[in-house]
Subunit: 339 residues, 2 copies
């Protein structure tokens, strides 16, 4: 049973009058939202139970689909997306495709059985330009709103929120060119994923614009440590002095390859990652990388999704968010600037 | 609509006879489980929809409560626990206490409203020996089975699955003593958490057993990077030549403090972490740490929980799992072995 609430304690804690506290407790409308929040915080802080009518209404469940959790960028998205959902009264229902044989389709099916209000897909099959978009039409047909993150797809009628891939490559290229690099390589996971393709296309343009006459050097492998290692070998054999990796995890593989082969980072080889996932600043040398605006993307995605849930509508749109190049210790001028 | 299934394709893919495929599709009991799984995999692989009666039954939702996701050990637990749930037909409902003002209690309340079959608590308030255990009695009263991970608590009537903290300290201490260290420090987050207290108690015993006459050096701060930094200062001022940290994240702070103060790891200072979370092998020097058996703990916890859900019972028990010391590059003999 809830303890009896003392108005004077709440008023003191919230820094308002007892009359105001009373108005908030009785759910009156004429209180400023800021004041109401202060009183609610005081109730929580003093350990009272919130009166029934003041509890946030449960908006139900939102399915949250991420490919896996070992790449630290995905827990970061889960954290920010879940926060944004909880703040709006929704509860996240997490599905990840790690389990042997678990596919995105089977996860969506399992989550649908729980009766969800909407879905968020982070780097899912919507981003794979060779995957059948029909699976998403099912959701549209059932009137279930969803948003996608980091994988705009013209064939899917849903809002997408993505890091501006072109901008991230422009920033990385400009930084390396200013340091004096010309033989700049780009390594990536499969180009069938739309963010990889967008980065690759922009890389080719930047090479032509910024270091005309220099042949592009690139390698398409996997978005993993091992992918980064094998791509590093390929592009170093072609004489690269700097590598732009399309994920931090690939950059880890690249640095490991360099270490194993007596190649010093950054004096023999500059490396730039992508994501700025959590531990990257603790590497030694600390990783220079392009930071995804995870929090801004998450907030915008959930604001849009919850609006669509309330209006039972879905609308296609693409919103891109500006990344930031975080310069740390893995980039430096090339040894021989006239290469 | 499902495509019509060709028995011969499935038989070839699964490496069994068409008669066997037919028996599996008709749900006959006399097929070995291994064979049934091979046929189901073939159905999934060839892109057919599973016939309705062969779909895994949904066991419902299980609430999964973790404190946060920025410490990479928690995504690892989420990943393995979710896998174990999905394999048994349950869907994880994730709650984390990151959101401003979100408490474990409010998360549990929100998740209860969705109608869950059970709960898993990882490093929750059950592990805080000063927290009121009454919140867990509510679940017991409502007949909702739950298990706790890394926080045995005699007052709570639920099975706990934990890393053997005493063993982890013994292994770390033995390694450092063999290298020649005597002035070995222990740094930890708040001792009100039962795993921290168990480590601390064992550390004091080990000091007395392994380096009799040497005064214990320890610091109680927070389980964070900043906590590790401030604890490092405290114990280095007292002349420590080696530090056992009670989390990898604290070890990162310790190494950062050393770097910032010209103290070389490992030649001036040995550092041991705890967890072996994912990126630790990529640090340079790579972190020597005590690995938590996350997968074994997760499997055992979910096996027990799902059995309890099916039998609607709960039973107190404590199961500990043996950790492994992973020796990498942050430990070495002390500079001056006769300190």
């Amino acid at each position: 049973m809830a303890s009896r609430i003392r108005l004077s304690d709440l008023a003191e804690q919230a820094g308002v009058s007892t009359a105001t506290v009373s108005r908030v407790l009785n759910g009156k409308a004429e209180v400023a939202d800021e004041t109401r929040q202060a009183v609610l915080r005081a109730i929580d802080l003093l350990g009272y139970e919130r009166p029934e009518k003041l509890r946030p209404k449960s908006g139900g469940l939102i399915g949250l689909i991420v490919p896996e959790l070992t790449n630290p960028i995905f827990p970061q998205f889960v954290q920010h997306l879940s926060t944004a959902m909880l703040q709006r009264g929704y509860t996240p229902l997490l599905g990840t495709q790690f389990a042997a044989g678990t596919t995105e389709d089977s996860l969506v099916e399992a989550i649908l059985r729980q009766g969800v209000s909407g879905f968020v897909f982070v780097s899912g099959l919507h981003a794979d330009l060779t995957a059948d978009p029909a699976r998403y039409y099912n959701l549209v047909d059932q009137g279930i709103p969803f948003v996608t993150i980091n994988g705009p797809n013209d064939l899917i009628d849903a809002p997408d929120f993505s890091t501006n891939e072109r901008d991230s490559i422009t920033q990385a290229m400009r930084h390396l060119v200013r340091l004096g690099h010309k033989r700049i390589a780009f390594t990536t996971g499969p180009l069938r994923f739309s963010p990889a393709k967008a980065k690759y296309d922009r890389y080719l343009e930047c090479m032509e614009e910024m270091v005309p006459g220099v042949k592009p050097i690139y390698s398409e492998t996997l978005f993993t440590v091992e992918g980064g290692q094998s791509a590093a070998k390929t592009v170093l054999d072609e004489g690269a002095t700097a590598i732009i990796c399309s994920s931090d995890v690939m950059a880890l593989g690249t640095i490991r390859y360099a270490l194993d082969h007596g190649i010093d980072v950054p004096s023999d080889l500059s490396v730039i990652g992508f994501d700025d996932s959590l531990v990257m600043s603790f590497l030694s040398p600390a990783l220079t990388t392009v930071r995804q605006p995870v929090e801004a993307i998450s907030d915008a995605a959930i604001t849009t999704l919850t609006a669509h849930i309330q209006q039972s509508q879905n609308q296609m749109s693409t919103t891109t968010f500006r990344p930031e190049l975080i310069v740390r210790e893995t980039t430096a001028p090339p040894r021989n600037t006239d290469i």
